[in-house]
């Protein structure tokens, strides 16, 4: 762990709109510089992706972006980030991905030149390596393909580079279904961390070379998978909350390797990253219900710098195409944030308080996201001697905060849920703090056909 102390030490300073280290983009958006901007995400409706359909696909991306910019103009928008998260075919054939970035960028540029409307593209290639099982995290040819898309996509106008990297997922998924926190720690905080160290050095390198901004990662495939399963009542919510905390010392690696933010949406570890590193973050809450239901609708915005809808298909709603509709919703959300900003600090804290308190006592996953708890947990995380230790310290702190709140009757819970508290505590406390020791232990337990040690430099 590179970060030894918090960039934001008091909960009063962990607010939406402002980050200690704001990021200025090519067209002049200052993310974390005082205002919250919408980050619009979208995907294709059910359809094939191939050479025949590609002209239509390109056109869909163009129209989505154009319509949002046009509506942005009508709503006096002050800035927009578009996330282009590629679908598999667009990464496998980077020229697809690059072409789409180009058309998106043309529209952004057009509205910037003609109307002064500032917008930027976050380019998020999907992590192809998981297509091979066991994945070859370092030696797979897919890695080169992904990096090619980063490089060429950056040249084409992708200004913020991000990824949802998946190192360790081959172990994580099963472990999650079994609520095996030990294997989860190994997957996230040993394998995930090592993979990100390798990967983010490369991404940050490309960003530097191309004069672009390395945005950040997210443990969506870990933390949000846990949340989605908890929403389905497949695993305990308390378990999902602990997994969330453990994603922090994984995702932070992007920043250790040079990412500057805004950290990616699709996960909620951003709040902790902001407290620890001071980088601006993208968060998603109620207005991402199109992509997944959650217990975090309001509280997720407590310290957001970008406010995202995660993803919505390009289909028609009664009013208009769904991305335009969600853009409008995000815009009104951010207007509310920014109205409080323009009224001053005490108003920011007021609005934040409503957002936080309306959710925090109804679900442990919301509870840990309350700024006071984010600060307390982050303070433990930075005490970790390594990423593994950091995760365990953070998780234990989180559990104890949850336990107190439950036992004081402040936080809603159930017997079925609470039964996991002692189990989790015991399990986590028994994980060796020494990474080497832990690696050796897991080496003897984990099925060798499932992952390739060497691909993580082990």
């Amino acid at each position: 762990m590179k970060f030894k102390k918090l960039a934001i030490e008091s909960m009063e300073d962990l607010c939406f709109g402002t980050a200690p280290s704001p990021v200025t983009t090519r067209r002049g958006l200052i993310i974390g510089g005082g205002k919250v901007y919408p980050e619009l995400n979208f995907t294709l409706p059910p359809m094939h992706i191939n050479d025949d359909t590609f002209p239509d696909i390109k056109n869909q991306y163009r129209e989505i972006v154009r319509a949002a910019l046009q509506r942005g103009l009508e709503l006096y928008s002050e800035g927009i980030v578009f996330e282009f998260e590629t679908l598999i075919e667009m990464t496998k054939n980077p020229s697809y991905g690059v072409d789409i970035v180009k058309v998106m960028n043309e529209e952004c540029e057009n509205y910037f030149v003609k109307h002064g409307l500032k917008s930027e593209i976050r380019l998020t290639p999907n992590d192809l390596r998981e297509f091979e099982r066991p994945p070859k995290q370092r030696t797979s040819g897919y890695l080169d393909t992904m990096l090619e898309l980063f490089e060429e996509g950056a040249k084409a106008g992708g200004d913020l580079l991000s990824i949802e990297s998946t190192g360790g997922k081959e172990i994580f998924d099963d472990a999650l279904m079994h609520c095996n926190i030990r294997e989860i720690a190994f997957a996230l905080n040993v394998l995930g961390v090592r993979d990100m160290q390798m990967l983010w050095e490369k991404i940050a390198g490309i960003a530097d070379k191309q004069g672009k901004i390395a945005g950040g990662d997210t443990a969506c495939g870990f933390g949000n998978t846990a949340m989605v399963l908890a929403e389905k009542k497949y695993i305990p919510k308390i378990f999902a909350a602990v997994v969330r905390i453990m994603t922090v010392s994984r995702t932070i690696v992007a920043i250790e390797q040079g990412a500057k933010g805004p950290d990616k949406d699709c996960g909620y570890e951003g709040a902790f990253l902001k407290a620890i590193t001071g980088t601006p973050i993208s968060m998603e809450g109620k207005t991402a219900a199109c992509a997944h239901l959650s217990p975090l609708g309001n509280i997720a915005g407590a310290c957001a710098d970008l406010w995202s809808n995660e993803s919505v298909q390009n289909i028609k709603l009664l009013a208009d195409m769904a991305p335009t509709v969600y853009f409008e919703q995000l815009t009104y959300d951010t207007r509310l944030f920014n109205q409080a900003v323009s009224s001053g600090k005490s108003d920011i804290l007021k609005l934040q308080k409503y957002m936080v308190e309306s959710d925090m006592y109804l679900d442990p996953q919301a509870f840990i996201l309350a700024p006071e708890n984010v600060i307390k947990i982050s303070a433990e995380i930075v005490k970790g001697s390594n990423h593994l230790d950091a995760a365990i310290k953070g998780a234990l702190k989180g559990i104890s905060l949850i336990e107190d709140a439950v036992s004081e009757g402040r936080l809603k819970s159930s017997e079925m849920e609470d039964a996991y508290i002692p189990v989790l505590k015991d399990e986590l406390s028994s994980i060796p703090v020494s990474e080497d020791e832990f690696i050796a232990e897991m080496d003897s337990i984990i099925d060798k056909t499932k992952y390739i040690k060497e691909e993580y430099g082990l």
Binding site: T43, L44, P45, P46, M47, H48, I49, L87, I88, E89, E130, F131, R133, D173, M177, H178, C179, T225, L229, K233, Y234, I235, P236, Q313, M416
Partner: protein
């Protein structure tokens, strides 16, 4: 014998795999599904009897608790493991033809798609209800489904997809399977899939959850 089958069912319900398994605490040190199944066979129970009157009963109970949100998935997985331990003793009998399973179910996540959490749950539930499950994994193309379907001509096929861009691949697969053998039943599922889509591509069943699928399979099997 009835008592023994009851005990096996109990072990499956509470995930008592074998003597060594620590859960549930009140059975600590006692025989689990593994040992008890062997004993039942030794005492002359048939494989079908054990499967139908013990294993499926136990899985059924945990299945109901799961549906009513009274247990989480890990508990169901423990039950499934206990069942597997028992099945290890029965499998040779089924394989030799000396005993018969309710049916065969072939499942996979379709080409281009790696989401398998939902698919895995479906496998487990179907298996827990007495079917042989052949899990082809993720990113499975039409050819692979065809090859497997040929091997098990009476098998029902299940397709899973979580992406709007891969669900469309279901159509080819259904067409290919039905062209080869119009009798083949194909079931589909996964978050973006709908009944409408199922009708459109001529699949035989859409179900939002494993329960609906199991009901359908049971109807076919009966």
């Amino acid at each position: 014998m009835e008592e023994l089958l009851k005990q096996i069912a109990h072990c499956v319900e509470f995930g008592k795999i074998n003597q060594a398994s620590p859960y549930p605490p009140d059975l600590k040190g006692k025989d689990g599904a593994d040992e008890l199944t062997k004993k039942a066979l030794d005492q002359g129970a048939t494989a079908e009897e054990i499967l139908t009157n013990a294993l499926i009963v136990g899985m059924g109970k945990v299945g109901v608790k799961f549906r009513e949100n009274k247990v989480f998935v890990p508990q169901v997985l423990m039950s499934a493991k206990a069942m597997s331990a028992a099945m290890a003793h029965l499998k040779p009998l089924f394989a030799s033809g000396a005993a018969k399973r309710k049916g065969t179910f072939i499942i996979g996540t379709v080409q281009g798609d790696l989401h398998d959490i939902g698919k895995n749950l479906v496998s487990m539930m179907v298996e827990g209800n007495g079917y042989e499950v052949i899990d082809l994994g993720v990113d499975v193309n039409a050819d692979t489904f065809l090859t497997e379907a040929e091997k098990y001509p009476h098998a029902v096929i299940g397709l899973s997809a979580l992406l709007t861009t891969t669900m469309v691949n279901m159509e080819n697969i259904v067409n290919a399977l039905k062209e080869k053998n119009p009798e083949t039943k194909v079931c589909i599922g996964g978050a973006p899939v709908t009944q409408d889509f199922c009708n459109k591509i001529n699949a035989d069943l859409y179900s939002p959850d494993p329960q609906g699928l199991v009901e359908y399979l049971d109807k076919l099997a009966s």
